[in-house]
Subunit: 342 residues, 2 copies
């Protein structure tokens, strides 16, 4: 049951690593104060600069005009963490440039003129930061950023001032939740100025035992210091989760396996299931896979299921809008099919 | 969804039909008043008479001396409805003669000197009665029964006086339970002098939606009248259950199928399960099979599972006494194995 720490931190407990930078144009008012013409100019400038950028790591880029996207498409981008819920519902002239491999997304005219974001699987904060920095440099060459010698990068909301960086990791922490220790972890993180939220950022609940940890301070520290601090704290939480998983499994092997398999049994047989219940059951199955209890499912399949069961992704996949009851039925069908394919 | 009424009543809603006759020897006090010598004589006389009886329908008979059986063996006979809980715990000199095919069981020195019982699958009260009557006649030839011209057969408890017959059917009534109508049925039966109990007779709960209906009156009616009355009432209940099943399924097909399949999923995957939870889930799966939702399990397999998960049957099958936690684990294993064999 003792796994190599690095392999654990990379692929199971740490689901993904994200870095995003907030940047603004020097010569333009912040998005809430912009007029339409200014907003349009910003979209054009970013598009012209970035769409010509070639980088093997991010590959092909797509320019997505928010005005021309339907609600389901926008919601799907939110579910994939490629755009924020705010951008999806914004009345402003706004857009996003995303890479087809979904590692990169640049939001234009969200709260700031630019939100440059990179997402990597597992514990890859350093790689996410390297790529994000690279894209930032490309944009920096042709855009004059709003910057103060005293504060650093200027942002619409003061919580992003300075580096404008937000580093976050998505952690799967079922053992800490089961054992009731998650409250202590959240409290400790809060004292260390680390925000802990649910899967979809602010105001979202931690469904399926997924927690997003990110820095709250952007000012007075270098990007490297912020990254290092998040990494260290995340690693400690991962280690606690890992130790606790082994303890719980050892203490009551049968109860542990029973919970995992019952959840699998329901997922593999239900004829109607909500996204929330699916995520709860997937959490148990993921834990079972991490602990070597369930062997015949690949982690890629599980990740694919976790994404595709979200309401918009599901409707997009099935090619039509569906009411919630229909979605529950089609979701159950999809999960069964994907689990059978293993 | 509309099935032929007879086929429904025979194999799914009606699980089994039982007839038992209470008889006593004329020259001996009733069992509570007997001494050891008298008890021994009765055991010997019944044994001598019945063990030489040949009948193709019941085949080979086994004589079981209660004193020489262990607790698990006795409990297993109770679980199979071959002896009563009272006989299993009796301090009296007592015995049972059962047929290997488990259609027949004669208890000696239970509440009465003789309890002659036949059990048939499905709605087969007439066949059960025919066989029971045949065995009664065989015994009657060599034993002088306690009988009064006014009352008929004399029994230890006045509730059995007269015919000494108890006719019962085991009904699986999930739809009536789900729809909340079972209370009305029980009330109506009570007014008609029909007792409705759980799987193991008096004082037992109706686990897994199994209800045992039997006559309360034994006096003032012929055996045929009693049988006909139980049959008619059971048929009406079966018809109500059948109609309700079709209604519920039609009204909310998905919810119905979802419940059935989730229960199947848990049964087929749990690593630890109690007998009670198993029976509840088996009830859903049985309903799913009856409605043609689940097709890859045979009703024989389900019946086999239902019997073998009982504590004593399970321990007998596994060849050793097990504590309740171990039983739950081995029960889950057994259920999974049997479901996979289909």
């Amino acid at each position: 049951m003792n796994k190599d720490f690095n392999s654990v931190s990379r692929h199971d407990i740490v689901i993904s690593s994200r870095v995003r930078l907030a940047r603004n144009f020097d010569q333009y008012p912040f998005p809430p104060k912009m007029n339409n013409k200014e907003a349009e100019e910003i979209v054009s400038k970013v598009k012209d600069t970035l769409m010509n950028y070639k980088n093997d790591e991010i590959g092909d880029l797509l320019f997505l005009d928010m005005d021309s996207l339907g609600d389901i498409d926008k919601q799907m981008l939110v579910e994939k963490h490629l755009i924020s819920p705010d951008l999806a519902t914004s009345k402003r002239r706004c857009a996003a440039i995303i890479s087809k491999n979904e590692k990169t997304s640049v939001m234009i005219n969200e709260e700031d003129h630019l939100r440059i974001q990179t997402i990597f699987h597992g514990m890859q904060i350093d790689n996410a930061w390297k790529l994000c920095d690279k894209i930032d440099n490309v944009l920096d060459k042709s855009i004059e950023y709003a910057c103060s010698e005293t504060y650093g990068y200027l942002t619409c909301c003061p919580t992003n001032l300075g580096t404008g960086i937000r580093v976050s990791v998505m952690l799967h922490l079922p053992a800490l939740v089961i054992a009731g220790y998650i409250g202590n972890i959240l409290e400790a993180c809060s004292k260390l100025n680390i925000a802990v939220r649910g899967m979809y950022g602010e105001h979202s609940e931690a469904i399926g035992n997924m927690f997003q940890m990110s820095n709250q301070i952007t000012l007075g520290q270098t990007e490297e210091e912020i990254i290092s601090s998040i990494k260290n704290i995340a690693m400690q939480v991962v280690e606690q989760e890992n130790t606790l998983r082994n303890q719980l499994y050892k203490q009551n092997t049968i109860k542990f396996e029973d919970k995992v398999y019952r959840s699998y049994g329901i997922l593999a047989n239900a004829r109607s299931i909500s996204a929330e219940e699916s995520l709860r059951l997937i959490s148990d199955v993921r834990l079972g896979m991490d602990m070597g209890i369930i062997k015949n499912i690949s982690i890629d399949t599980l990740n694919e299921i976790m994404l595709s069961i979200q309401p918009a992704c599901l409707q997009k996949l099935l090619g039509k809008p569906l009411d919630p009851d229909e979605r529950d039925v089609r979701r159950a069908e999809l999960v069964r099919r994907k689990l059978r394919q293993n």
